[in-house]
């Protein structure tokens, strides 16, 4: 089914990403008390091998907040930033002396909370828009290789094929200083529910 998604269904998914990520960007901007821009989301069917390339490759060390979306259209959600951006976020947010290396408990938990707020605002706007019941699990955070982290979100797709449909939005604060990615990977079964919730006819 995924391989035959027409252009206009992809547009619908792009809009879904746009609304969710737009709300998350607003939330982030409030948190930081600074303007945060976002790029128009991209929606694409990507081979597993290439997903980590979006954040610098399989072995690139990233900070990831992961949560499972439960409810009527389940899926996986990642907020991913590189270490420079994470440190910058923490400096802005906590007004603490942030160390160059490693993360304290406090910093770790602050990053988790940022992910939580962003994912929460993304999801609640999606739920409003689609009128679907969606609820996030408590987020988990990891600092590790992008490939190891992202592959975890592809298990549901693994049973279907070797690519996943990814809704990817990039956040920018001050043009390029903060590059954060929001990945929403709906489970394969969720697409029909999203489309029918939005009144897109199923041929």
């Amino acid at each position: 089914m995924l391989h035959r998604l027409e252009a206009f269904k992809l547009d619908v998914l792009k809009e879904v990403g746009n609304i969710g990520a737009g709300n998350a960007a607003t939330a982030l901007s409030r948190l930081l008390d600074k303007p945060v821009d976002m790029n128009v989301p991209t929606v694409s069917l990507i081979p597993f091998e290439q997903i980590a390339d979006k954040v610098g490759g399989n072995e690139q060390v990233v900070i990831a907040v992961f949560l499972r979306v439960e409810g009527e259209a389940p899926g996986n959600m990642f907020f991913i930033i590189n270490e420079d951006s994470a440190k910058k976020l923490l400096r802005n947010l906590l007004a603490l002396d942030v160390q160059e290396e490693g993360y304290s408990e406090m910093e770790y938990s602050a990053l988790g909370e940022i992910g939580n707020i962003l994912a929460g605002s993304y999801l609640s706007s999606l739920a409003d828009f689609t009128q679907l019941y969606l609820s996030p699990t408590v987020p988990a955070i990891a600092v590790d290789m992008a490939g190891a982290i992202l592959s975890y979100g592809l298990v549901q797709y693994g049973e279907m094929g070797d690519s996943a449909l990814l809704i990817d939005t990039t956040f920018l604060e001050g043009k390029e200083a903060l590059a954060g990615h929001f990945f929403l990977i709906p489970d394969p079964e969720s697409f029909d529910k999203i489309f029918s919730a939005l009144g897109v006819p199923n041929e």
Partner: protein, 164 residues
């Protein structure tokens, strides 16, 4: 190290190498990197297993390298065709982590440990001993396997480099 000597194994992929070439796979999380080796012929094989069993597959045509139960027999056969003797095979494995700790009943969240179990079951079926392993816990790994020495090098962000 000479890059020309490195054979890259992707996700849900398998390759064989011989004569000193190095098999490499990057960013193993819940996936398992499993190697087989015949010391005498110096034939080595590596598979990057993503899922435990092809019984759950809903693909129109299965990618046999993806599942523990289909990839391991295929790897054995490929190595045998290269002149290796399955009776002498020994296995090493790494990966199968739980990258995130979750309190959920969703079984797919503990995919790492299930991948490890399933690989071991297959090896047992073929009477291939597991010489050593670095599996489980909660971090990602990149592995290299040398078809000359039979050594596996494991790199991770948290733990640095180790050899098994």
């Amino acid at each position: 190290m000479n890059d020309a000597n490195v054979v890259k194994v992707g996700m849900a992929d398998l390759k064989i190498a011989a004569g000193g070439a190095i098999l490499k796979t990057t960013g193993l999380g819940s996936c398992v990197g499993l190697t087989l080796f015949d010391e005498r012929t110096k034939v080595a094989g590596m598979v990057h297993v993503m899922l435990p069993s092809s019984e759950i597959a809903r693909e129109a045509s299965i990618n046999i390298a993806k599942y523990a139960d289909t990839s391991i027999p295929h790897l054995i056969e490929l190595m045998r065709l290269e002149g290796a003797e399955p009776k002498r095979f020994v296995a090493k494995m790494a990966g199968g982590a739980q990258m995130f700790a979750f309190h959920t009943n969703n079984d797919s969240m503990r995919i790492g440990p299930r991948n490890v179990e399933s690989c071991k079951q297959m090896l047992k079926q073929f009477n291939i001993p597991v010489l050593s392993e670095d599996t489980g816990l909660n971090y990602g790994r990149t592995i290299e396997f040398c078809s000359m020495s039979g050594k596996m090098t494991i790199r991770s962000v948290q733990q640095g480099v180790k050899e098994i």
